[in-house]
Symmetry: C2
Subunit: 340 residues, 2 copies
């Protein structure tokens, strides 16, 4: 009898915030492993804000999720059966196999992880896509110079917290905007940010920025969009750079997202805004991963991860991303290793 | 008895559109010419949209005009008295001496013009600041490639019409947005633009763009901001570049200028928006002016200028800029040469 594979599929496209009707749990039989294939048991799955965008049936930089198919996303798993020369049972791999307990993969669909460098879960964040997003967005677009002021929104998230640490490595003064005092403490006490603003505890982010960034803002790493970004835009210095990484404040909006037009500010400040996704840099991933791994091993980078337990808790973890609850990277552990 | 110098000063800062109360005509005595100075008789003055920004008492990339002082701006004049070794009477010069009939200049305040290259008025547009604005904004930020689609708003103005021609030189497909059928004819028939949209004669700029730019928009040279730019933003291709040069639609607005936030679009398209002013490129002006002069002499560039007559008509010409009346560069002739 075939093994049962629990999967979570996209049952309907959400209007606004996803809810219980968005997802459906289904059971499928695990397929047979053919020549040059491996069977992976999922250990951890990643939940990420960008996945909300893939739930829309709209043209974007990445394919929309298909209705009634497994939600795709970064996961880590263990090879528990191999008909490939390149993998053996017990190997740990990462790939886009998403929200399911088992996956039969071709050799080129996954990448092997070396568990000796760092905990394997780091491959879903600081040594994976969010780390690379931070690295390329900050260094290729933001280009912080020593002594400049870097402001980060969504600063306590997986991307934001890494961006701030890289900016510190580059000698910048770093200020984070996040949504709780706990997060601000994390940024200042654990990551050595120079300042922080809890946007939920202030009436006027602009005034706070003026106080905390008296020399203005040279780089604004934007993870959120919306009114927080409107406020930061008023504090830009000449030749400011804005890597536009995320707009989580807008993702679940059903009405049009209106705000002050940016053109006059960009002209007055000769400022640059550039949107990007990590995939733009795929030909430089090795360079980025190597540098991130080195900084991690040297103790120049650290991270916080929150690990939920249980396959059934994946949708809830995903929804929590939009409630501003998590510090650092949010993962869900869905299985135990069998070969260690 | 000293010569009388008619001047136009900033009498009060406008709220919204400038009007008769904004300016005041005054008479001053022309100062004596001292050692190493020259006396310039103004021949032509330039009226430019960016001058509206200088009427605000707000921090910007350029100093605000001072109340009760002469309106500063690019002008052309003839040297009618010289106590400098570097200039002789009859020389034609350009500088920022602005809206007055005479000006006593130091040697480094003006630049001599060679009238043999092109009509001297070209130094107030295609061989001057607007030409350089077009050149650097398009080539340094827009970076059009052969076969790409370049869309220009404010396309029939001095900057827009030059941008389009440079984009054609670079092998791009060029579409202009402007406010009259006469302007669209000018762009298509005289400047060989590939397409044009009269935004006053359409209900839906977005639909027009989809039709006229079936391959999307790779470069959007933005002179206007506002709803026209909102529409173009919906048609961007991946890796689109947007040099943000002007926002004339907003300059006279008293309320906040609201529109769709751009962050999500920038992310989805990995697009870049960059504000600039020509002064950013001052160390490359020679390169730009040389190339523009060469293209002009080779017949690859052309221009349209509208010349009003009479010192008393300067404020009216300036206000017409915001009524969308002019094609190409608007100048005012205020004096005749004495030495030719």
């Amino acid at each position: 009898m075939a093994r049962v594979n629990n999967q979570i599929i996209l049952a309907e496209r959400p209007q606004g915030l996803p809810d219980d009707n968005t997802f459906e749990f289904v059971k499928k039989a695990v397929e047979d492993v053919k020549e040059d294939q491996i069977l992976i048991k999922t250990l951890y799955v990643s939940v990420d804000p960008y996945m909300r965008g893939r739930m829309e049936n709209a043209e974007s930089y990445i394919e929309p999720f298909k209705l009634n198919e497994v939600i795709e996303g970064s996961s880590i798993g263990e090879v528990i059966e191999s008909k490939s020369d390149q993998f053996k049972t017990g190997d740990v791999v990462t790939g886009m196999f998403g929200w399911q307990e088992y996956y039969v993969a071709g050799e080129n669909e996954v990448r092997q992880i070396d568990p000796s460098i760092a905990p394997i879960t780091t491959n879903l964040h600081i040594l994976g896509m969010t780390g690379l997003t931070s690295y390329f967005g900050l260094l290729d677009i933001g280009k912080p110079k020593e002594g400049e002021t870097v402001v980060i929104s969504g600063a306590a998230g997986s991307v934001g917290s890494t961006v701030g640490q890289i900016a510190k490595i580059k000698g910048a003064r770093v200020v984070g905007i996040a949504g709780s005092d706990e997060k601000i403490s994390f940024l200042k006490d654990e990551l050595n940010f120079d300042g922080g603003i809890n946007y939920r505890a202030t009436d006027n982010i602009k005034d706070d920025l003026q106080r905390i960034c008296p020399d203005g803002v040279d780089v604004y790493f934007d993870n959120v969009g919306g009114e927080i970004s409107d406020a930061v835009m008023t504090q830009l210095n000449r030749y400011a750079r804005i890597p536009v990484c995320g707009a989580i404040s807008s993702y679940n909006k059903e009405e049009q997202d209106l705000g002050p037009r940016v053109q006059q500010t960009l002209i007055k400040k000769s400022a640059l805004m550039q949107g990007f996704t990590v995939g733009n840099y795929s030909d430089r991933f090795k360079e980025g991963a190597k540098q991130l791994g080195q900084w991690l091993q040297e103790g120049k980078l650290t991270y916080r991860e929150t690990i939920r337990e249980g396959f059934e808790n994946i949708p809830g973890a995903f929804l929590d991303l939009f409630r501003g609850k998590n510090i650092g990277k949010l993962l869900v552990k869905v299985g135990e290793r069998e070969y260690v």
